[in-house]
């Protein structure tokens, strides 16, 4: 049994609850976009709920789930209890109180600034303070995991870091490097400004710091999903990990490449020089590489599973895979969707093409395929595996669990493809409706938003199935001893090969060098230029 079971469960239940609330808001937004008349439909409700959906899904659901999964993965693969349990609980409550502050500010209509909260849009101070507490709580979690790892290392001199922990350490490093940016933005600029201590903030400086955080944030979501793909999904499929050292290489590449790329979110911004945008563009393209490796290694691991079950042909190993197991099907479908979304990402990162789709519905189509499916569906899939084991209960409503990943995939396909197309046709993202004084051009978007709303309904049904299965299992699942959590064995043990990949200190140092190369000059240039601050506005 896992020592920090209750700790992991507390984090995961917060994640699942946030997910449920955010999914309900998403349904309302998808229908509103299709111009359907709903009760309480209004501009105010719409922008409030877009803010809530973004914050709850992208920050609360992901962070709490990643923390919960992190405790399980660390303790199981290091075969030792986590250290500093009190700090771990303290961090949970700090993050929880922060979340409640943010939720209050948003739901009371005092922070409809969307999850990007670009100043000079100004929210209630508790929105920023709560967000800071959530991040500080997550730092406490990082400290606990790292301390546990260091303790394990002392106790097991010379042993190879288990791959799941290697992946989680990469996650933590990416998160710490990322949150330096947003901490600087929120603590130094936005909290004093929202409380009236300072009068003005510089919107471009705030955007630079936000996107310092905003892009590696994506890999903070993705790397735990990769830990699941590499170390858990092959086991669930009945196979072995195709290559352990390449998985380590992938995690290291993400440590290096995640952060020095943020200007590709600011191609259309004034006040940032073209040369720096170009530099970040070139950095960005390399991030495709570790994901290409992942596609091969994980699919090859599944092929191993099919072969072990007797497949001999080119493709018949696919039939041997457990498509009825919701954990496996979630991961497999998540990977397919990620392949499509990844190529979309390469388009977004090319500034020429980006000009056509910047801030259009294309963008929401893109990140619902990546974070909204590759990450979220993986987290749902692994929940079906983990929760029964953590609770010591049988999975309830398992039929719903079995269809849920397919419903998500179908819904997302409709939603994402429709949004990519309407985005190409010029529809902006994040709009309540698109009458635009009777414009005929805008009229043409209605078929796209209709398909997207249909996708939204399927996604909502899928999300409701997931939440129902989780709560039914938690409350009414039959108490029964469950098989232990196991990680996939590699085809070949890493032994002493490329030990350098485990030397995290080295990779952190190199990542820091890259970040300085990408950000030091533009930030110093910006701070030394004469800029004018902005007062706050709250037009919501």
């Amino acid at each position: 049994m896992i020592e920090s079971r209750r700790l992991a469960l507390a984090n995961i239940w917060v994640a699942i609850s946030a997910f449920g609330v955010a999914a309900a808001m998403a349904l309302m937004q998808a229908l509103s976009r299709a111009d359907l008349d709903l009760p309480w439909r209004s501009e105010r409700m719409y922008y409030l709920s877009v803010t809530a959906h973004g914050v709850l899904m992208a920050i609360v659901f992901t962070t709490f789930f990643i923390m919960g999964l992190g405790y399980v993965v660390t303790e199981k693969s290091l075969r030792r209890p986590i250290t500093m349990k009190k700090i771990a609980w303290g961090s949970f409550w700090v993050a929880m109180i922060g979340t409640l502050m943010v939720a209050w500010a948003i739901l009371w209509g005092k922070a409809s600034v969307l999850y990007t909260f670009y100043p000079p849009l100004k929210a209630h101070p508790l929105f920023y303070i709560g967000a800071a507490l959530l991040v500080i709580g997550s730092w406490g979690w990082c400290w606990v995991i790292v301390d546990t790892y260091l303790r394990w290392k002392r106790e097991n001199a010379g042993a190879r870091t288990p791959l799941p922990v290697h992946g989680y350490l990469a996650t933590i490093i990416v998160w710490i490097l990322a949150t330096i940016g947003v901490a600087a933005e929120v603590l130094l600029m936005l909290i004093p400004w929202s409380m009236g201590i300072t009068e003005k903030v510089d919107p471009i400086m705030a955007r630079i710091l936000f996107w310092w955080f905003g892009h590696p944030l994506v890999y903070f979501w993705l790397l735990p999903a990769y830990v699941v793909w590499y170390t858990m999904a092959p086991k669930v499929a009945g196979g072995k990990l195709f290559s352990d050292p390449l998985a380590r290489l992938v995690f290291v590449l993400f440590i290096l490449l995640s952060t020095p790329v943020g200007f590709h979110h600011q191609f259309m911004d004034p006040g940032v020089e073209a040369g720096w945008k170009l530099f970040h563009t070139f950095n960005t393209m390399w991030i495709l590489f570790p994901s290409f490796i992942t596609a091969f290694t994980v699919i090859a691991s599944f092929e191993v599973a099919g072969r072990l079950k007797g497949a001999t042909g080119w493709f018949d190993w696919l039939e041997e895979l457990p498509w009825g197991n919701p954990t496996f099907s979630s991961v497999a479908l998540a990977m397919i969707m990620f392949a499509v979304g990844g190529f979309g990402g390469a388009i977004n990162a090319s500034f020429g093409m980006n000009a056509m789709i910047h801030n259009t519905a294309w963008v929401q189509g893109h990140f619902h395929m990546t974070v909204g499916t590759a990450v979220a569906l993986t987290f749902m899939g692994i929940s079906y595996y983990l929760l029964p084991k953590l609770l010591g209960r049988e999975l309830e409503l398992s039929l719903l669990a079995r269809i849920q990943p397919y419903l998500w995939f179908a819904g997302m396909l409709l939603f994402a493809v429709a949004n990519h197309l309407t985005g190409l046709a010029g529809m902006p993202r994040r709009i309540y409706q698109f009458e635009y004084a009777g414009s005929q051009i805008a009229d043409q978007w209605i078929s796209g938003t209709g398909i997207s709303a249909l996708g939204g309904v399927l996604l909502f049904v899928s999300a409701a199935c997931f939440v129902a299965v989780m709560f039914a299992t938690g409350l009414a699942g039959k108490k029964q001893e469950q098989p232990a959590i196991e990680f996939a064995e590699p085809l070949e043990e890493p032994g002493d090969k490329v030990r350098i990949l485990d030397r995290m200190g080295l990779w952190v140092a190199l990542a820091a060098v890259l970040i300085v190369a990408a950000y030091a000059v533009p930030i110093i240039q910006h701070l030394s230029a004469e800029t004018f601050g902005s007062r706050g506005f709250s037009p919501f």
Binding site: S112, Y118, P203, L246, G271, A425, R429
Partner: protein
């Protein structure tokens, strides 16, 4: 480290794809001068409404046939909200905001920029097709965000005439 033969091929192919992507960006950047859009110019947002240039938003058609369009993006409108520009001539847009961040997107074209208070956004483009275009704000700016739009009319013009409001 031992890497499987087929995976090696795959990794080289992946590197090849990335190099092709980088090469095509490099070629368009340095060979065709398609730079990332950028313009560095500051303005005090509190003075936008009294600024000699931005307090008189509108179109100026120059002697050589090209045009400059000065736009104020504000909660929740563009000034001017009907913009007439010449077809087939370089048109330079200059934009700023006296309040929050807005977007300026000419639907169906790659005319697209953020409009940030404290900064002047500038880009130059040429419209080859005459007709009416929709301009929308594509950055959330508050409860009226979805109502923030304008019209762009591309038409054949004699140089030095019309356009200004």
């Amino acid at each position: 480290m031992n890497v499987d033969f087929y995976e090696k091929i795959w990794m080289w192919a992946a590197l090849g794809i990335i190099v092709v992507f980088l090469a095509s960006i490099g070629f368009t950047t340095f060979g065709m001068a398609v730079q990332p859009p950028s313009h560095v110019e500051m303005i005090d947002p509190e003075t936008v409404r009294t600024d000699p240039e931005f307090s008189q938003p509108g179109v100026t058609v120059h002697e050589d046939g090209s045009a400059t369009v000065v736009v104020q993006a504000m909660l929740f409108a563009f000034l001017p909200n009907e913009i007439h520009v010449p077809r087939g001539q370089p048109v330079t847009f200059r934009l700023t905001s006296p309040d929050v961040i807005h977007g300026f997107q000419i639907v169906g074209t790659n005319g697209n920029t953020m409009v940030v208070p404290g900064y002047v956004s500038q880009f130059t483009t040429t419209f080859s097709r005459a007709g009416e275009y929709l301009i929308v704000c594509n950055e959330y700016c508050g409860l009226g965000h979805h109502n923030m739009s304008a019209k762009l009319i591309v038409e054949d013009m004699a140089s030095g005439t019309g356009g200004a409001r």
